[in-house]
Symmetry: C2
Subunit: 342 residues, 2 copies
């Protein structure tokens, strides 16, 4: 039987591409949030790329084109945030069906421009082509920063405290609501908590300023964005840093809106927060001795807490990297992994 990409899975596919591409000295390539290219004089260029494909990442009838324009830039900004960098310019690649309305395009570009203005990002290139059906959107974003502040996901150290910059699970709960809209009453649809969760899915806020601030704190060792789901991203951080993580499920912060809706739909809010994706907050590992002071300054700076969720530990002999969960002081095993694309 022919082996397909479905059999292979997403991460082995990325590994395959990586094997074809040894990068040059001083460059960080596939595997972190951004590629890191030395520019000289202590500066590096950051480059990241994200695609949104109709019927894979979004449904045309369910998302306003303005929000989609916002989202494609926001998810890329989040990767620049995850290194601690400053975004600069974008390359927009669109493959669009010929029967798409020009007003759809205008609104899409407006959403992109609106968010771009907030961060001084301009579109300087890209490619536009037809599509035989689905809308394909890809955005490549360049940024830059001082090399010494660049925070890689491979720099986590045993003893570090793991923390995240925001509540998780809202975006995935929002997606569930979008998919169930037919079952909902009109009253529910106008409810504040419903709208809040749907907005978290459609219009995520990239943590650019948080990332820049955190990268400059000497106690912050590693940083990445929470995009594929906390569970999956925890796995990647521990793999890259060659450590294990001990995470308390009870400590993973969840919004009051998510709690309320979880009750309504009989969801387990903590598991949804762990396994949902597209949160776009940041995850950091911070030297234990610095954590209290970093967290205090973070809260003063951004008027929101830095949430500790666990810590990193040294691997014992024979132990492979991984994530160990604790729930109500007991060991706990998650059943399924978060969502793959294939």
């Amino acid at each position: 039987m022919t082996k397909t990409l479905h059999d292979l899975g997403e991460f082995p596919l990325i590994e395959k591409i990586r094997q074809f591409s040894p990068w040059k000295k001083g460059e960080v390539g596939i595997g972190d949030d951004c590629a890191v290219i030395p520019l000289g004089r202590g500066q590096v260029q950051l480059v990241t790329s994200d695609s949104l494909v109709e019927n894979v990442h979004f449904l045309r009838q369910k998302i306003h084109p303005f929000d989609l324009g916002h989202k494609v830039l926001a998810v890329n900004l989040s990767d620049i945030a995850a290194m601690g960098g400053t975004p600069e310019r974008a390359y927009l690649n669109l493959s669009l069906p010929a029967d798409l309305s020009t007003s759809w395009l205008d609104q899409f570009l407006s959403g992109l421009q609106h968010l771009g203005k907030c961060y001084n990002v301009t579109i300087v290139g890209g490619d536009t082509t037809g599509s035989p059906g689905p809308i394909f959107i890809n955005l490549v974003l360049q940024g830059s920063m001082e090399k010494k502040y660049c925070r890689l996901r491979s720099a986590g150290r045993a003893g570090d405290i793991l923390a995240i910059t925001g509540r998780v699970g809202d975006s995935h709960a929002g997606l569930q609501l979008i998919l169930r809209q037919g079952e909902l009453t009109n009253w529910e649809i106008v409810d504040h908590d419903f709208q809040f969760l749907i907005d978290q899915h459609h219009k995520p806020t990239p943590a650019i300023r948080e990332g820049q601030w955190l990268a400059k704190q000497s106690g912050v060792h590693s940083m990445m964005d929470v995009s594929d789901g906390l569970q999956s991203d925890l796995q990647r951080l521990t793999q890259a840093s060659k450590v294990k993580a001990i995470v308390s499920l009870d400590k993973i912060p969840v919004s009051s809106s998510l709690k309320k809706l979880a009750k309504r739909f009989d969801w387990n809010a903590q598991i949804l927060a762990l396994q949902g994706g597209e949160d776009y907050c940041l995850m950091v590992s911070v030297a234990a001795s610095s954590f209290a002071s970093v967290a205090r300054s973070f809260e003063r700076q951004f008027h929101k807490p830095l949430f500790p969720i666990g810590n990193l530990e040294r691997l014992k002999t024979g132990e492979t990297d991984g994530v160990h969960y604790i729930f109500q002081k007991q060991k706990w095993h998650p059943k399924a992994n978060s969502f793959g694309h294939f």
Copy 2:
């Protein structure tokens, strides 16, 4: 009636994106072969992006994945060549259906790697996602060069001689043969000329070294690659340079293979050469006083001619930019424009 992208057309669509994106001082954005970003110390970074979409740019059953991997890099290399730059690194964005075989992917990556090795290009990032059907491939390529040698398409001057670095029309003839394969005899399919034309379509050769050499000749004012078809690209060069072009249809160079096949299928080889696309040779405008010496040195360097096809002239008052054709010493008007994507 709702206005669609089909009604709008490709170039107004690009213009729409450009309007949303004023670029920063010293940057060249949408409108040339590459975006040009100042790096300081007299250097610029070049960035280009090209997408290949199944059933728009290729048919999965008609192109070997190795050739497709070659082609997606080659078309991007051609844009770097058009500025006179040196290619450096690539970002590969793939949206692939789950039922695609892993051997397809391996061969695709092999084709990409094989050409990448010739020019020292590595893949350092990108994004991989699923697709609901068609294969969507995008590649973003970075390069660099000394700013003083950068050749824009807007730098053509009245009096310049227009020339191209290769014969045109072969790729489009190859595409016609690929689409007609069912009608062809086995004898025709193995014929050298058939294979040559199909190869020109599937495995174009980017003119990197020619571009670097031409950019360093002081008589060479403007340069671009011939990718959308000579007729369309001539229009863009004259628009960007605010001049008109006088082009002799008889002088447009055509290969002996194309001449032979044109006879067989009753094609007009000159019109096919003018209106076909994906040639990926370079077009330059050269100061008339330098042309003879540049052409002589080019031929010595690359063992092939630099083909003069016409010249640039000043616009008279009230005249808009444009291209005027001469065929057998008579004025001649092309009937249809080359192919748009929408």
